[in-house]
């Protein structure tokens, strides 16, 4: 309808899920990503002697960062236990809580096994831990999918984006921790570049295709690409995705370790910015 303007209304909710939730997504990407990459690093045979311990401890630390911000985001944090006492198994948040609790227990077990140098048992348990890490990575797509009101989060590519974020965050973290020999570092660099490249392609496809889905999706893409979140979103894409793709394309003899570390750090920053913009954009528009 032409010239239709809201002239009287209440203030709408604004941003309900803010940066605490972004921290949850971002830290979880690191926590699960390092475990998702570990089997391939172990196959390289030139792994660092403390690789198993590093992965388990890193995963444990970032998983607890995830849980810390999850609980902090609750308006009634001291009722967190209700999730287990009054479970709704239809809710992705509830399933996620059980999954992350299980994963937390497994990271502690794996860290203990690595500390005690029980590598054989560690490697035997690894496939199981990998499956839980995979599930913990992708359940967030289900969580966002249940947010019926937020069309931007319903993209069918959301599962792929969660996995790619974990690959990107996991490889960047392991590059920064410098665990693994030259072969492992090369592999991590390739994973970082590939994850960034594929993820960037999906984001660009969303930007092009979303406006055709609905007026709301088109408006959200406008907010991200040329509206109030432009700096956050485009800046994040450049730091976290474009720069790693370019860095990986540099011939290996010209790749300075310090440069690689900087690229890894930037990709983690960029990932946070993009995730945050993607999270808050649908909350900026009134639903009714």
């Amino acid at each position: 309808m032409d010239n239709a303007v809201v002239t009287l209304d209440v203030l709408h909710s604004g941003i309900v899920w803010g940066w605490y939730v972004t921290m949850n997504f971002w830290a979880k990407s690191i926590a699960t990503g390092v475990f998702l990459l570990l089997p391939w690093l172990l196959m390289k045979k030139d792994d660092h002697p403390r690789l198993r311990l590093t992965v388990a401890v890193t995963s444990f630390v970032f998983l607890n960062v995830t849980l810390f911000f999850t609980v902090l985001d609750l308006h009634q944090p001291f009722r967190f236990w209700h999730i287990f006492a009054y479970p709704n198994f239809e809710s992705a948040i509830n399933l996620g809580a059980w999954l992350l609790t299980l994963f937390n227990g497994l990271t502690v077990t794996m860290a203990w096994l690595a500390w005690k140098k029980k590598d054989a048992l560690y490697d035997k348990l690894l496939p199981g831990v990998w499956v839980v890490a995979f599930a913990a990575t992708v359940y967030t797509a289900g969580l966002l999918g249940q947010a019926n009101a937020r069309e931007l989060w319903h993209a069918p590519t959301e599962v792929a984006q969660m996995l790619l974020a974990a690959m990107l965050a996991g490889s960047a973290t392991l590059i920064l921790l410098k665990r693994g020999g030259e072969g492992a570092q090369r592999m991590l660099t390739t994973v970082l570049g590939l994850a960034a490249g594929v993820s960037l392609t999906i984001f660009l496809a969303e930007i092009v295709l979303a406006p055709q889905k609905s007026a709301e999706a088109g408006h959200l893409i406008h907010i991200l690409v040329s509206g109030e979140l432009q700096t956050l979103f485009i800046g994040g894409l450049v730091l976290g995705f474009v720069i790693p793709v370019i860095a990986v394309s540099v011939p290996s003899e010209r790749k300075h370790p310090a440069l690689l570390g900087s690229v890894a750090a930037l990709s983690l920053v960029g990932l946070w910015l993009v995730k945050h913009a993607w999270l808050i954009a649908p909350q900026l528009i009134a639903l009714s």
Partner: protein, 211 residues
């Protein structure tokens, strides 16, 4: 029994008596609303009109808020009302994210989610919701959708233009409107410019619940 609501938008005069009655009946705190009446002006001078649209929870048959609630705080009563147990709510706001109608809010006093419950406490005692009682034009029609002789069922059958908000979301709302157009029901059909408008400030809440 399946309780539902119908608003005849041709009868609504935008007096906001329903909004005030709801606030009073349910002790809805400042900065929160279970029911609101939105004004949208449209057209080109001199051919302009003002629309009034009361909006409340749609008590969806397929309620996304109840599905996403991790602790079953949001649950359906036998009469079809989607109720909330505030003592169980953990304040995760998943329901706020899920509701396509923006009908849920974080109560700044209890730090839990809350919403319109069709005045479930009054209904239980045989009374009508507060907003129905105060409406001076009878624009708010409340009753049992399962009873073909109820006022709401008869009204629904007599008005071919009965519609719900965002049917594409598949939530099966039990809140209907007659007499309205897209400007009334579709938020994308009007511009919502932040800043001072004709009557009040159009904007966003800075503080959500206790955060």
């Amino acid at each position: 029994m399946k309780l539902g609501f119908l608003v005849d938008l041709d009868l609504c005069i935008g007096c906001k008596a329903c909004e005030v009655a709801c606030k009073s009946e349910n002790d809805v705190p400042l900065g929160a609303w279970r029911l609101r009446v939105k004004y949208v002006d449209f057209g080109t001078f001199p051919d302009v009109k003002r629309t009034f649209t009361p909006m409340r929870c749609n008590q969806c048959e397929n309620a996304p808020c109840a599905k996403s609630c991790p602790v079953t705080a949001l649950h359906m009563l036998d009469n079809g009302i989607v109720n909330i147990d505030k003592d169980r709510c953990i304040g995760c706001a998943a329901c706020v994210m899920a509701c396509p109608y923006g009908a849920l809010y974080m109560d700044p006093e209890t730090n839990t989610a809350d919403k319109c419950t069709f005045c479930a406490h009054r209904v239980e005692g045989g009374l009508e919701p507060a907003c129905v009682v105060v409406c001076p034009t009878g624009a708010n029609i409340f009753g049992d959708l399962d009873d073909p002789r109820s006022k709401i069922s008869v009204y629904k059958n007599q008005h071919a233009d009965t519609r719900v908000r965002k049917p594409e979301k598949g939530t099966e709302p039990k809140h209907f409107y007659t007499g309205g157009g897209d400007v009334h029901l579709d938020p994308n059909a009007s511009v919502r410019e932040e800043g001072f408008s004709l009557f009040n400030y159009i904007g966003k809440l800075e503080k959500i619940g206790g955060h």
